[in-house]
Symmetry: C2
Subunit: 346 residues, 2 copies
């Protein structure tokens, strides 16, 4: 399954995917990538059905190229009984930002209602992480002609996705920024690097493998293709584009990162995710027992993260980034895509 | 610093290093690699000066090509006061193997006495990990014309090694098998993958970078060179060669491994190292507070590991291996090297 196969299957010119990044990627970013010949992604995991419809409509105004919409394929665990310790952890941060007192978090939009609107919207490509949707949902997308991309962090997960009938698999290496997609293992046992994961997945499943994690430039793209990947997905590389919606302090943190700046944390969202160390991460890591499960922790910390973003304060927002963040270049999304294409030698 | 530069600097035909693997690599393995045009390595870290002299003499009988001798560049911490809990952890394993009762461990040979004999032996290449030798020692090797290779797990460590005057740097990715070389960070903060580490090191230091971690075949070699590495170092790939001194049960564990079979543990040696999960590892991980510091823990567990190897019991020996172990091929070392050269396209 080589890159030509990938490009023709997904109807894109270059096998480069701009990763969906909730809170960072925008329809403007995705459309710029799509119009330049890559595959742009919309991150819809935290969005209500109405917001998703708006996002997709905006995308369709900006491009007539195929695009991808990403969701978190999970059922929420029951609401936590006692959130007092979690609220106590947050209180000083809320106070410091002048946003009152933290409140018991709500659940937010469910995967089921999100997929319902996506099915109505007839999107060209649907991708997911954190699990595997039900056969009913996958079948409904297929019946619409929607192509499907799942996310694996191990060979075992890749085989599960292949059996479920996806069209391609993102191999998420341990170096990747943001949430771990792991769904079949304790996450610590599924920290397999891109260099180790991609060739083992390529050998074990017969679908196109999309390498992600640590890829920032043409060198990384060529390396991933040498390992047998049919395509690449880059997130951190696009974080610092002007089309990215993250605050300036976050972009600065990415550009100033070193290879040892990031770690995996549950502090912000309740699910393991890689970000640049900052004050809130270290505070949360020091009190792992009070961190709620996803999505409760994520919704609990959202007012803090939003206020910190507004205040351009990098110590209280999630600075998701991969281990090669220092190689990011603050180019326009279309220019970055063209640069990657040139560097890759296409 | 490309691979031609590396090859001419170290006087080898192909920029492929067989990694030093204490307890696994042998002069026979290293000589087979050297005679086939690669760089063979002797692992001397656990050896007495007399054993080192013997090993080097054997190597010189088997090849006239350059070779590398590797040590652990550390000073031992003081002997532990109370080892009773550590002995109690070991006792049932000793009993099960019928080797009596565990005893307070000794320190073993020191880096200082090991370097003294290496200096007398006039070796062509000296490599080290776990730290940086003193300027006096490095200067003494240089005065002999010995080329020097250090090990970095982060860019910061690479800069320290460059300032110390080494000739090349092994970039040890997080996926690599066996001991982490980390010396400038808590090891958890230095788990940078090969894909992320190599290009950032290449950009930050002006020495040849030797990629290691996750590289098992020609695809991995080409990927590493695309990332800017001048050479590659493979350990796990050589573990299953007939010249490897590990027991059959260990080779079988490597060949049967999956991408999620390994984890980092201090249980066997007191220093973080990646190996295939087994009973002793999990037992030690469940009692981290009783694990002694290196080298005390390593010497405490040695009788168990030796007896387990003799009994071909994979549950009580350290099954060091990298995350791509499943790609290992049980070829003779020379055949493996020739296969790698062919696959790499040289």
């Amino acid at each position: 399954m080589n890159s030509n196969h990938f490009s023709s299957l997904f109807n894109v010119r270059y096998p480069i995917i701009q990763a969906p990044m909730a809170g960072a990627s925008t329809p403007e970013m995705a459309a710029a990538v799509a119009n330049a010949g890559g595959l742009g992604s919309l991150a819809a995991a935290y969005s209500t059905p109405a917001q998703i419809a708006e996002m997709v409509a905006r995308m369709r105004q900006l491009t007539d190229r195929p695009f991808n919409v990403n969701l978190f394929a999970i059922e929420f665990p029951p609401a936590p009984d006692d959130v007092s310790a979690a609220l106590a952890l947050m209180a000083p941060f809320y106070q410091e930002l002048g946003i009152g007192k933290p409140e018991r978090p709500s659940a937010g939009p469910t995967f089921e209602e999100q997929t319902r609107v996506l099915l109505e919207l007839d999107i060209p490509i649907f991708s997911f992480t954190f699990g595997v949707p039900s056969p009913t949902i996958l079948q409904a997308f297929k019946a619409k002609g929607t192509k499907i991309i799942g996310t694996a962090t191990t060979v075992a997960e890749g085989k599960i996705l292949e059996a479920a009938g996806v069209n391609a698999i993102v191999a998420q290496g341990s170096e990747a920024g943001a949430h771990r997609g792991t769904f079949n293992h304790p996450f610590e046992q599924a920290m397999v690097s891109t260099m180790a994961l991609v060739p083992q997945l390529v050998r074990s499943v017969s679908l196109p493998i999309i390498a992600s994690g640590g890829i920032m430039d043409g060198k990384g793209i060529r390396a991933a293709l040498e390992l047998g990947a049919a395509a690449v997905q880059l997130g951190t590389a696009f974080l610092v584009c002007p089309e990215s919606s993250i605050p300036e302090c976050y972009k600065k943190a990415v550009l100033n990162a070193t290879d040892d700046s990031t770690q995996i944390t549950r502090a912000f969202s309740g699910r393991p995710a890689r970000g640049i160390r900052n004050r809130f991460m270290l505070e949360g890591e020091a009190h792992p027992e009070v961190i709620l499960a996803f999505p409760w922790q994520n919704n609990l910390t959202r007012p803090m993260r939003n206020a910190a973003a507004k205040a351009n304060n990098p110590e209280m927002l999630s600075l998701w980034a991969g281990q090669a963040a220092s190689l990011a270049r603050p180019l326009k999304a279309a220019d970055l895509l063209r640069t990657l294409v040139n560097e890759a030698g296409w």
